[in-house]
Amino acid sequence: MPLDITLFGIQMPTLLPIFAASAVLQILFDRVMSDTGFYNHVWHPGLFRTAVFICIFTIPSLFIYH
């Protein structure tokens, strides 16, 4: 994947749209997990959420900087 992309005539790092997309994904994921009561079984929900977000964000980012 390229390092920079152009959206609406603005050049920006590819990380930015990836960040936005993973934020949306994380929100959906979070909604599902809290509604199914998954967080009741997790020791530190905040840490878990952060970790999940980092995973979601890092996996596509690795492809860019590989």
Partner: protein, 716 residues
């Protein structure tokens, strides 16, 4: 709960353990919060300096604006801050792109936007309003610095936005990872406390039948907290762990609590009004009727509530309810020949209120039990399907006033800028607008502005020490800068936890962050420092003057507005669509009163008067809704003309209340009641409920001494 109990027992045995417990529950959270805020601020500073963002102070400033002790609050505040910043950046790009060369259009649209933001920030609740504040503020910090060089606007927009995002990320991650404190826990505690309050208040017959005023403190406690708890619930939605069932439970509990407290106050009010001119027979009968409720509640009111306790309470309440209903029937038959018509009506209405109180208490207990079970085991016993909405009402006059103030401040400071031609006047504009946006919703804005000024002056003095002595003398890299800054950040964090320091802390944060040399490369210029400080202070003075001048919101005007709105509510209930639920009626009324009592400078006496109006409106409004619902299902044979006449004359009375109309209304209601009583054995249940509701309205109207209308002396 078991843990609480053992802790209490051990606390009695070892005094130092109690001290430790107290320290853990009172002081430790503040200490943790200070540490968290400091760490978040320093990380934000470090990241934005590493990323070479031009203005790291925006990031650290954002951290301190967003940081709250509970992580749910941080999430929702951050969310709205991001949204507000995006909108503000967009608007500044549009404004600079279109009107950069044309001062009149530029200023005109600028003022319009600030007016819209102030109005919306005032109209919306919680941190939603904060989003609008930010949308206005961002326009100032993005558009004004580059007004001379419009081509740079895109760069500054991008860098401001990145700094804000860095600050927000640090604040949210730190507050959710290091010793997180969840709103949903404090929500449960608050809920438990409220439930205990209800039981202890209702267990004491004096709180209803007592005539003295010392019970007032207790009952005021009963009525407060609906709006506040609602706000906590909204913000806790951003935390993990609070799932949909939880939210539904809290919504229902809040709604039922509102109903319960309205019924309680109506009952109390009714009994107070009965006292002077009704035979003692009625009051004695009522006290006797209430006795079993009180005695059965008394046994529970002091215990800690487990699910088993609640089960037993619910069982008992059910039994008590059945016995009381049958006893009320018997008493009605006994009293009918003894009393005159008015007193008999009053008895029917009051006993109805008592049964309703019991009913609502029962429902509330069931919902609370279901919440507890859900919390403990994840299972729910009953399904809560109905969605209860909390509706709010904001008075348009208040909103217009706020918009006027916001735009006015902007225009005046713009005039100041144009007249003086001072390059630093943009700082004046920014701060004046920010204060206009931020402080408008606080209870006493003028005091807050004064505190803001004090905080600003102290911040400038401290910033001078840092800029010209500590930073150049002792810092060589980021680590030492962080070490040097940490004490100040911790102090600021401590101030923000103290409610009485809030205005001061806000001013301190603003001025310290803007005056302290937190640039990527240390640069300091005494002229710049002095001139910008002066500009900021002038901005605060402008904003304070605006609060002083645009504030013709007197007590009598407030009363007039409230009275008008409440009367209009009854009128719409009489003729409008029947879609309005009781929950909407109640929450709107309460929200309205809450807002007017923070904004409207009511004294003790008039705020009690306003509360009485609210009760009257809620009670009559509820009765009207119930009557109209019953009418829809009533057999056409019994649909007397006098029922419609009754409703119509209620409407006429509330359009223009006067003594003559009140007498006419009472007569009409009497006719309605007579008509209904003649055919009581037909469609008996529905007719019976119509009789009760009309009797309730009539009794309230007959005895209540204050109506939602302006009186001469209530403001003195």
């Amino acid at each position: 709960m078991q843990a609480d109990k053992t802790l209490m027992i051990s606390a009695k045995a070892f005094p130092w353990k109690r001290a430790l417990h107290e320290w853990l529950s009172m002081d430790a959270p503040i200490l943790i919060y200070m540490v968290k805020a400091t760490i978040a601020g320093l990380i934000a500073l470090w990241i934005s300096m590493k990323l070479n963002l031009p203005d790291p102070r925006t990031a650290i400033f954002t951290v301190f604006i967003v940081m709250q002790p509970q992580s749910g609050l941080v999430f929702s505040k951050s969310y709205y801050r991001v949204v507000g910043t995006i909108v503000g950046v967009g608007i500044s790009l549009i404004l600079m792109g279109m009107f950069a060369q044309d001062p009149i259009w530029f200023i005109g649209f600028f003022a319009l936007w600030i007016g819209i933001c102030t109005a919306a920030g005032f109209k919306y609740r919680n941190f939603q309003s904060y989003g609008f504040v930010l949308a206005g503020y961002t326009l100032c910090i993005v558009a004004l610095p580059v007004i001379e060089t419009p081509l740079e606007v895109f760069d500054i927009a991008v860098s401001r936005f990145s700094e804000v995002v860095v600050g927000i990320m640090c604040a949210t991650i730190i507050s959710d990872i290091i010793f997180p404190r969840h709103l949903s826990d404090s929500l449960l505690t608050a809920e438990r406390e409220r439930f205990g309050n209800i039981l202890s208040t209702l267990a004491d017959p004096d709180s209803i039948f007592g005539t003295d005023e010392d019970a007032h403190a207790q009952t005021a406690r009963f009525s407060s907290g609906v709006v506040g708890l609602h706000a906590i619930r909204i913000n806790s939605a951003y935390e993990s762990g609070a799932d949909r069932k939880d939210r539904q439970h809290s919504q229902h509990l809040n709604h039922e609590y509102m109903n319960l407290s309205t019924t309680f106050h109506s009952l109390k009010n009714m009994i107070r009004l009965l006292e002077p001119n009704t035979s003692k027979e009625v009051t004695d009968t009522l006290i006797n009727l209430y006795a079993p409720i009180a005695s059965s509640l008394k046994r529970f009111s002091s215990t800690v509530f487990s699910a088993d306790d609640l089960n037993r309470i619910i069982q008992e309440l059910l039994e008590v309810k059945n016995t009381i209903i049958s006893r009320v029937k018997r008493e009605e038959e006994r009293l009918q020949p003894l009393l005159d018509e008015d007193a008999y009506d009053a008895f029917i209405a009051t006993s109805y209120l008592m049964i309703r109180l019991l009913n609502e208490l029962h429902i509330h207990c069931v919902t609370y039990l279901s919440l507890l079970k859900h919390r403990l085991s994840g299972k729910t016993s009953n399904e809560l399907n109905r969605v209860v909405r909390f509706s709010t009402h904001t008075d348009n006059v208040l909103v217009a006033l706020a918009a006027l103030r916001g735009s006015g401040v902007l225009l005046v400071t713009m005039g100041f800028w144009i007249a003086t031609g001072w390059p630093y006047a943009t700082f004046t504009i920014t701060l004046a607008v920010v204060i206009g946006l931020l402080i408008g919703t606080l209870p006493s804005p003028l005091d807050a502005v004064i505190n803001f000024f004090k905080g600003g002056v102290s911040a400038i003095i401290l910033a001078a020490v840092y800029d010209f002595y500590i930073i150049p003398e002792f810092t060589s890299d980021l680590l030492t800068l962080s070490l040097v800054l940490a004490p100040v950040l911790a102090l600021v964090a401590w101030w923000t936890t103290q409610p009485k320091w809030s205005g001061f802390a806000l001013g301190f944060i603003f001025l310290f962050m803007y005056e302290c040399a937190l640039d990527p490369y240390f640069k300091i210029d005494p002229t710049l420092f002095l001139e910008s400080s002066l500009a900021y202070l002038i901005g605060i003075i402008f904003a304070g003057a605006a609060y002083l001048l645009v504030n013709f919101w007197s007590c009598s005007l407030t009363q007039r507005r409230v009275a008008k709105i409440l009367r209009r509510q009854i009128i719409t209930l009489c003729e409008g669509q029947l879609t309005l639920q009781r929950s909407a009626l109640e929450s709107t009324g309460r929200d309205l009163i809450q807002q007017f009592s923070t904004q409207g400078r009511l004294n003790m006496r008039s705020s009690r008067l306003v509360f009485e109006w609210l009760l009257l409106t809620l009670e009559i409004g509820r009765a009207i809704v119930s009557i109209r619902r019953t009418l829809q299902r009533l057999h056409p044979q019994y649909r007397y003309e006098s029922i419609d006449n009754g409703l119509k004359s209620i409407r006429v009375f509330f359009e223009t209340p006067s003594e003559a109309l009140r007498n006419a209304l009472l007569n009409t209601l009497q006719n309605t009641l007579d008509d209904l009583r003649l055919s009581e054995n037909g469609d008996s249940n529905r007719l019976q409920s119509l009789i009760t509701e009309f009797a309730l309205i009539r009794t309230v109207l007959l005895r209540v001494d204050s109506f939602p209308m302006i009186t001469e002396d209530s403001c003195r």
